[in-house]
């Protein structure tokens, strides 16, 4: 009978590793998940890189004039994005000015006022509002809203026409007023885009308001605070990051909105700040409208415009995402 050496070797005496590393299946799992996660990063980078590469010829050809030329006349080789850039900012600004208060108040209503049963329906309605295709908002805006909205445009230009933004190049007090001067303006396109900006901002704000610490709410109520007192002292300070971030996310969406703007706005080029007046153009509507019959050099110019839009929305959206993420960590509350 052979005896087995029972003397413990050095290896056996060494302390056991408490975290024995991952199984092979888990290593594969981690690797795949990491790969997909990084793949999304690469995808985002690729969008920028490919659009950037495509826009090099245009930028070489037109130089810095591409950013200062207001006309878009490919047949004269006279191309620039100054006017569409301004138009994009105008439409997005109108959308945010309209959407921000409505989204904030609606989010507060959902979290602070609405009874529990109504609340779930309202939350669904925000989701639904975000899901309604933008082309439907475009049709709705053009055929349903515009006839009403031009009355508002006219009223604004009548009483606030002294303010350059609200001036319209027609007589607002004429007995038979020139309706066509008010239609298809940046203002009306902005109103339709606001319909898409509201749910985005509202969803983020609601999410943050819902997380406002219950103990602080109850403390405010116990100090005989009213509902508004709770909102002012607990919910709004806690949700500041969500308010800013959600609004910026909505701004990013509004800057790039295509279908609704394409339907409502009537294309016009030139540096123009009169938002109530008919005719304006945005970058995304410019691309969508001229893509079909563009020659290769025009295509490159459109891609360059797209690249500029990409940089703007990337900047706005990333800033928004950072702000939202910070606010989620619960910084600012000690509970």
């Amino acid at each position: 009978m052979t005896t087995v050496s029972v003397a413990p070797s050095d290896e056996d005496l060494a302390p056991r590793l408490l975290s024995p590393g991952l199984e092979r299946s888990d290593r594969i799992y981690h690797g795949v998940a990491l790969g997909v996660g990084l793949g999304v990063l690469v995808l985002m980078g690729a969008i920028g890189v490919f659009l950037g590469i495509q826009s090099i010829p245009t930028l070489k050809h037109y130089g810095f004039g591409f950013f200062t030329t207001a006309q878009w006349q490919p047949e004269l080789d006279h191309i620039g994005i100054a006017s569409v850039l301004i138009g994009t900012i105008e439409v997005a600004t109108v959308a945010i000015v309209v959407a921000f208060p409505l989204a904030l108040l609606f989010a507060l209503f959902i979290t602070e006022v609405a009874p529990r049963r109504v609340k779930s329906w309202l939350v669904s309605s925000v989701d639904l509002m975000a899901a309604v295709p933008s082309i439907i908002y475009g049709l709705w805006g053009f055929f349903f809203m515009m006839p009403h909205a031009i009355l508002l445009s006219r009223w604004l230009s009548q009483y606030m026409g002294w303010f350059p933004l609200f001036k319209v190049n027609t007589d607002p007090n004429a007995a038979t007023w020139q309706q066509s001067s008010y239609t298809s303006s940046a203002f009306i396109a902005g109103l339709a885009v606001a319909m898409m900006a509201i749910p985005l901002a509202c969803a983020v704000m609601r999410g943050v308001f819902d997380q406002a610490p219950i103990a602080e709410r109850e403390a405010a109520l116990a100090l005989s605070g009213t509902r508004f007192g709770v909102i002012r002292t607990v919910v709004l300070p806690f949700g500041r990051g969500g308010i800013v971030g959600g609004t910026m996310l909505a701004l990013g969406r509004a800057l790039g909105e295509t279908a609704a703007v394409l339907i409502i706005i009537s294309p016009a080029y030139g540096i123009k700040f009169r938002i109530l007046e008919a005719g304006q153009q945005t970058i995304s509507a410019l691309i969508a409208g001229n893509f079909g019959n563009a020659t290769s050099s025009q295509l490159s110019a459109l891609l360059t415009a797209g690249f500029v839009l990409f940089l703007i929305t990337l900047g706005v959206n990333t800033a928004a995402a950072v702000v939202i993420r910070r606010s989620r960590s619960g910084a600012g509350t000690e509970l």
Binding site: Y29, V40, A46, P133, S134, L249
Partner: protein
């Protein structure tokens, strides 16, 4: 007044009156149950103040609007009504309440009005689309025929949108097949695996949810059509749709995965389950309703994209079930093309197609409500 009749069971009740009265102070079970106060209840006064102010504001504005003021239009009327309401309501409430409560009431009224505006705008968009689309929708051929060899100005009894419906369904099916696994894997990476890059991936995902669809379309055009020589086709549309759907799936799913109690994961690990098995058998099934929500939201976003098919597919008037060659029409693109003609009959078709698109989106939301109603806490 005997002590028993006092409305409040005050702690500061004097004890020296009589033994009998003191005994009455002990509230019975029924009394406690019956008198439980509802913290957020409104009194009759509150409701009447609200309704009365709204009514009187309506009367005042109804009297002077159009007669004394040089104004017209429904919009101005509603705005003035609201302003008058706020003024009257403030006065009425301040008669019997201190200032903080007046402010609170006004803020609440403002919140309510803003919500009504938002919901009314949404409802008007949905209802208006259906009303305008009704004529086309009730035409049997509209849903069973395509537009091949039929001019856009032909009456509604000819031609239909079957090709666009089929195109949309094929495109979204391929887009789901691409974006669901990728989006879900990203969410799992962010929530279950984590690591050094998780934060930056999360930030980028968040930023990408608001990526303009037209940029996704341009990107796929540059890569697939220009770069790889792929034809303009339904498949290109699906890939571009996936670019916009992946971030939505990833972000919404991650939220769903994060609220899975970590005790479940630890229990699975303690029983010897590997992380892979824990994720597949415990975490994902637990979060399934939330994951379905993510999928449905992304589908709703995907089927409505207009700029993408406009850029990378192009319209066709005939049925095309092959996603890899030839243009494939889809509902949003059909709507846009019909709108561009500015023909009244084509616009009616556009609204008909818009109604079908809305029915799809609403159908998805009915499914969503059914899913989230059963299992609470997954959203």
């Amino acid at each position: 007044m005997t002590i028993a009749e006092r409305p409040n069971h005050d702690l500061a009740v004097p004890l020296d009156e009589s033994d009998g009265a003191a005994l009455d102070l002990e509230p019975t079970r029924d009394e406690i149950r019956g008198k439980r106060r509802r913290v957020r209840a409104t009194t009759l006064d509150d409701r009447l103040e609200l309704a009365g102010s709204a009514l009187s504001a309506l009367c005042v504005i109804g009297l002077i609007y159009g007669h004394l003021l040089p104004l017209n239009g429904a919009l101005g009327f509603l705005v003035l009504w609201y302003l008058a309401f706020v003024g009257i309501y403030a006065v009425v409430v301040s008669v019997s309440n201190p200032r903080p409560i007046v402010i609170d009431r006004l803020v609440t009224a403002t919140l309510l009005i803003a919500s009504v505006i938002v919901v009314a705008a949404l409802a008007s968009a949905v209802i208006y689309t259906f009303v305008k689309g009704w004529q086309a929708l009730t035409n049997v051929r509209f849903l069973t025929h395509d537009m091949s060899a039929i001019s856009p100005t032909a009456p509604l009894s000819q031609g239909g949108i079957l090709h666009a419906i089929v195109g949309t369904l094929i495109e979204i099916a391929i887009a789901i097949a691409i974006s669901l696994p990728l989006g879900l894997a990203t969410a799992v990476y962010l929530s279950e695996v984590g690591g050094r890059f998780a934060n930056i991936v999360r930030t980028v995902i968040e930023a990408m949810t608001a990526l303009p669809e037209i940029l996704a379309g341009l990107f796929i055009y540059v890569v697939m059509v220009v770069g790889l020589g792929f034809p303009k086709s339904g498949f290109s549309v699906s890939v571009a749709m996936s670019v916009t759907m992946i971030p939505i799936i990833a972000r919404t799913s991650e939220v769903a995965l994060r609220i899975v109690p970590s005790g479940l994961r630890e229990a699975s690990n303690a029983l010897g389950g590997t992380e892979w098995r824990t994720t597949m058998r415990v975490v994902l099934p637990t979060a399934s309703a939330g994951l379905a929500t993510a999928l449905i939201l992304s589908i709703a976003r995907g089927i409505g994209e207009t700029a993408i098919p406009l850029l990378v597919s192009g319209a066709s008037s005939f049925m095309n079930t092959n996603p890899f060659s030839n243009p494939m029409n889809s509902l949003p693109l059909f709507i846009y093309d019909a709108y561009v003609t500015h023909e009244p009959i084509a616009i009616e078709r556009a609204f008909g197609a818009a109604s079908v698109l809305l029915i799809m989106v609403l159908g998805l939301f009915v499914v969503l409500r059914l899913l989230t109603r059963d299992r609470k806490g997954t959203r």
